[in-house]
Subunit: 180 residues, 2 copies
């Protein structure tokens, strides 16, 4: 099977991306330290036509050389906003009638594979700091917690990998396949 050239992939221009219907999903980064992770999240958000990325607290913002290394230009297509605190971002999402879920390991969390999103309600998904995870006070004001079930020896996944897994899983459930 012949590999396709980049030109054959017929990707969108930034203008076409801006005008496209988006996956009704906002990614909220709660004090993410690594700029490589932030850049990688932008690239994932671009691939799955995510509505916006909200960068909170110590999370770095574009333009930034380190973010650019992994975003590779995806900061031009994907809409982003900065909030001083993650709580402010969550309040903003709620005012926009999003349902807010934190990705964490908590009592009564719903396993990602068992979670069914309602396509008529926009989702905001909060991903936490590399060490501390999502702050408890952010969880307290969220509508729920979704957990990525893990069966090995380690306690968590890399944050950009978690974003990829959750966004892919939800985008498929929200019918991204219908657009292909």
């Amino acid at each position: 099977m012949r590999k396709l050239s980049n030109a054959e992939l017929e990707r969108k221009s930034v203008d076409e991306f801006k005008k496209s219907d988006k996956t009704p999903l906002i990614i909220v980064l709660d004090n993410v330290r690594s700029l490589n992770n932030v850049g990688s999240v932008f690239r994932t958000a671009d691939a799955f036509l995510i509505e916006a990325v909200y960068l909170c607290g110590i999370t770095g913002c574009p333009p930034n050389t380190e973010i650019q290394k992994t975003a590779l230009g995806a900061t031009d297509s994907v809409v982003w906003k900065y909030f001083k605190t993650t709580l402010e971002a969550v309040e903003h999402c709620k005012a926009e009638r999003c349902k807010v879920y934190a990705i964490e390991q908590a009592e009564n969390a719903i396993m990602l594979n068992a979670f069914t999103p309602d396509a008529n309600i926009k989702l905001a998904i909060v991903f936490g700091n590399e060490v501390k995870g999502v702050e408890q006070q952010v969880i307290d004001v969220s509508d729920g917690v979704i957990e990525i079930p893990q069966l090995g020896t380690k306690h968590s996944l890399n944050i950009s990998v978690s974003v990829g897994i959750v966004v892919w899983d939800l985008a498929v459930k929200l019918g991204i396949g219908r657009r292909l």
Copy 2:
């Protein structure tokens, strides 16, 4: 909802991991340059009880400080082997009766969301170099190509994110949820 402490997660010890039934999946890394990516792949492989990671060509191997930074010890639990060339790794997989699929964008690729694995046949999934992707000659000897559908402006995802998406998608389809 109260966050769980690491102790409450009741993760496996390395010994328990070694003795556990594995997800029938081998990850093959075809000349992956970034040691951060390699480490992150180990962490994902640990989380989803992957059978083995095959490191090929220029792909770095443990023990390595850069791999350790993102693997965080997952190189102790996950089985790995090194092959001088990816073609050798693929031959080895075929001798072990695996079906071999490359993750690429190619003519007649199957979209990941449309791909249904057969739980009775072990899969080997080849992920390519950050710039070049999977080599054409590796694709030529594979049983098929699986594509992660992407709708944005960029041509590809970060390789550790791609591994996360594909491993999660296949692990769920292979029934990882039944063990939770």
